[in-house]
């Protein structure tokens, strides 16, 4: 099984019919925690697999950046989903989602410190020991930073990737969001990341609200994100790019047009 190729879309039950009718599709992602391993996968996913579409389980609740060791049952579930779907790889985030017995309900940023690098690397190693396939790590969009960062983002991410030997899942919308909200240049970050380690890219929509750019996944992909995608692919085009949409689904024609815009910006074949 090869890794993901071409333009993909995040498979969600609400758009399963739309996804099933994309003729050129070779790659989707599923939220790993939403897949039950008690029985067979949903029929729609089985049919995609029979068409040769790669399905990548995307975890959102491992909390690899949490100071407590990653929960073995959560790793076992991710591994089981990967087996169930014959996935070429899995992905998760460089983030934490719970602490002190409370669930945050979202991905939270880590301080960019050497202590946090150690925490992430230890948890990634624990996960890798149980996973049947490679893992790709995704840097998140954060609305705030910790007050005591020792490393800049490029150094923080590069250190984690080097020490874990993990692949990179780079979310172009997150790069845009962080640069916009911090007032930094996104191209500076792209120029310092190990783009040869990118397994695939994410793009998603967002919106300006209250002086911040929010990575909502419920709005259309904005022009600056498509421009950044083109800039990145001009430097080094990764094998695949995936559109994430998690609600307020537009009419099929709009979603197809958005997939086409992503393909054009990335220089990849259209799948619609």
């Amino acid at each position: 099984m090869t890794g993901p190729h071409g333009v993909g879309i995040g498979w969600r039950p609400e758009i399963a019919g739309f996804v099933a009718e994309l003729p050129g599709l070779r790659f989707v992602e599923v939220i790993a925690e939403a897949v039950s391993t008690a029985g067979p996968p949903p029929d729609a996913l089985v049919q995609l697999r029979e068409r040769g579409v790669a399905v990548v389980p995307h975890g959102v609740r491992l909390s690899l950046g949490g100071t407590e060791p990653v929960q073995p049952a959560r790793v076992a579930h991710l591994a089981a989903v990967a087996e169930l779907l014959a996935a070429p790889l899995v992905s998760e985030h460089i983030a934490f989602v719970r602490a002190g017995g409370l669930e945050a309900g979202h991905l939270l940023p880590l301080p960019r410190t050497r202590e946090a690098v150690d925490v992430v690397c230890a948890n990634v190693a624990r996960a890798q020991a149980e996973l049947p396939v490679p893992i790709a790590l995704e840097p998140i969009a954060a609305l705030f930073d910790w007050p005591d960062d020792e490393l800049d983002e490029a150094a923080f991410l590069s250190e984690i990737l080097t020490r874990t030997d993990a692949l990179l899942l780079l979310d172009v919308a997150n790069v845009h969001a962080n640069a916009r909200n911090r007032g930094t240049d996104p191209l500076t970050l792209l120029d310092r990341l190990p783009l040869d380690r990118v397994a695939y890219l994410h793009v998603a929509g967002g919106a300006e609200q209250g002086g911040f750019y929010h990575d909502t996944h419920t709005h259309p992909v904005c022009a600056p994100v498509l421009e950044l995608l083109a800039e990145l692919c001009a430097r080094r085009r990764p094998p695949a790019v995936l559109l994430e949409r998690d609600g307020h689904y537009p009419p099929a024609a709009e979603l197809r047009a958005e997939l086409d815009a992503v393909a054009t910006a990335a220089g990849l074949p259209t799948v619609t």
């Binding site: 949490g66 934490f96 602490a99 002190g100 409370l102 669930e103 309900g105 301080p111 705030f144 929010h214």
Partner: protein, 152 residues
Amino acid sequence: MSSVPAAGSLAVRQAELVAALVAGGPTPPGFAPAPLAAARAALLRKRAGEVARHWPLLAAGLGPNWPATFLGWAAGRPTNGGLRDGWDLARALHTDHALPALGADELAVREAAFRYDGHRPPRPRRGPALGRVGGALAGQLAGRVRLLRPAR
């Protein structure tokens, strides 16, 4: 970890940050207040969407008042997941005579299908059961649940 984390350690600081974001805790030292407030609000909006997915009739019944109703109830109250959050909110609204008819229908169906004590995750009821919320009445027999009489 068996040892108690030291004050100022990453474990303690992560816990303080999550408490500040979802449980009404104080802003941890050194964090810029405005971005943290934006994150707190974004988390609540995301939670409102998740609850609305689990409780579509409750959200629809509240209509334009849904966001404010949910945010007012959820601020400072940590999540137990979309299913239980919506359940707790619907029960609270019912107690306050503020549950819309569609929400009462939805709650009655859930009460007939599951046993939920407000503390542990809901569990399917084994035997036949009725769910009654105001005028709404739902019945469950052998795992099949039907709304017998809608609220008005």
